[in-house]
Subunit: 261 residues, 2 copies
């Protein structure tokens, strides 16, 4: 599996992904899932990819080739980012169609999902989720993030902390926490992490960095977070057991003889 997310804040966009790819538990490898593109000076575009590695690699290769060759439709010809999302969806659908018969015979899915993020001059920065079916949705003010892949483990920390007023540094730290929660709970998502930020109206390529599991910063942020959670947990008040009517046993239970902490 995979876990990628993008957070859209007032100051720009934070991108993050793991790098683990697996075909069964006996073939685990590391692949980049954060893709940048050499577009014109009026736009910055990046993609995060999840799903069939064969499909995502072919989709990214076609998008790069059509951009370089100046195809009739390419990343530079779209005048709005939603048109880029639609274009990515069409390329994804055409790649999936091309392999449908072959994959179908093996009962394997060639589906792929993308997060598209960036800015085209004249618009605010935006993030889109492009479904395997080629349609897409945009993140909103109320839900300023998008996730693809193994998204459930890392969602609670986002839902507790994400707001559009986060700085880009905050958004990257939050992304690392969301990824680290997922990595801790699911071996199909693994380090190193690829991180990237785009600053609103900069129209510069994404600034990217890779965070390895052996990096002292990764250990530090995990230790600090674990310690803070443990401290916060100890400080929480205890549940008060009520004396309740006991439906199942048709009797009244008593206050519990719990062991003090």
């Amino acid at each position: 599996m995979t876990y990628c997310l993008a957070i859209q804040v007032d100051h720009g966009i934070a991108f993050a992904s793991d790098t683990r790819s697996n075909a069964g538990v006996d073939y685990v490898s590391s692949y980049r899932k954060l893709h940048r593109f050499r577009t014109g000076p009026d736009r910055t575009i990046a993609l995060l990819s999840a799903g069939s590695l064969a499909t995502t690699q072919e989709v990214v290769s076609i998008i790069r080739k059509e951009l370089r060759s100046g195809a009739e439709e390419n990343l530079d010809t779209c005048s709005r980012l939603f048109e880029v999302a639609s274009y990515v969806g069409r390329v994804s659908q055409s790649v999936q169609r091309a392999h449908l018969a072959g994959l179908g015979r093996s009962g394997v899915s060639g589906e792929a999902t993308f997060i598209l993020g960036g800015q085209v001059r004249g618009e605010r920065p935006r993030i889109f989720l492009v479904y395997p079916q080629g349609n897409f949705i945009r993140a909103s003010e109320d839900t300023p993030y998008l996730q693809i892949g193994e998204s459930k483990y890392g969602k609670p920390v986002l839902d507790r902390l994400v707001v559009p007023s986060l700085s880009l540094d905050d958004a990257i730290r939050l992304s690392i926490l969301s990824l680290s929660a997922t990595i801790k709970s699911n071996v199909s998502v693994g380090p190193p992490l690829d991180l990237g930020i785009y600053r609103t109206d900069s129209f510069q390529p994404l600034v990217t960095g890779r965070l390895h599991a052996t990096d002292p910063y990764y250990a530090k942020i995990n230790e600090s977070w674990n310690q803070a959670l443990a401290d916060a947990f100890v400080a929480l008040p205890n549940f008060r057991w009520p004396v309740v009517e006991d439906q199942a046993l048709e009797s009244r239970s008593v206050l519990p003889p719990v062991t003090p902490r």
Copy 2:
């Protein structure tokens, strides 16, 4: 959906479940998923249930009836808790088989999953997960908890904080946090929460309590946790962006002009 969990600590077992049941988003209701039984004085047995409500209700009804009527095999005749797990699995399978043809015609699954917990005199307290197929596993020292239903959202907080040396009060507070994370991120899991504790070697019925969303304690624990997480988050160090070789763009990126927090 549903989310139930049981944590096995040195002092006993904590049980927790949500109460939301739904057949589609337009039929949402509230049902008890934590079940206790009037067993003999040498044992305490409880079940948490997830999956088809029809199946889980029928399974619990049959188990109660066979216990009351003193059937050849019932909760009181098993001399080990793993035999109870096997018995619950067989009842579950027989209920599912009885409705297989009818459900199959509608393309609906009658599968159900259970967590069995308790103690039979002569053994330590134990928790088992009974699969829809009737087989079962036991929690271990290394992973002293079991989850059924919508389990991913609430797993990271368990993986960060659970240890067998937690007190029963700790285990209940942790269960509430795990459930509250799930409730926040997934509308198919909802309050009120049913909570229960069993104290090692007490052989008393579970002490139970219900926690409503309107209870000031529920608001308090959520507020405190959110605030502690926000404080901890602000205190985390920033990721240091490296000056890295830029593979995608074949150029070097510069240190980012990020907005200070």
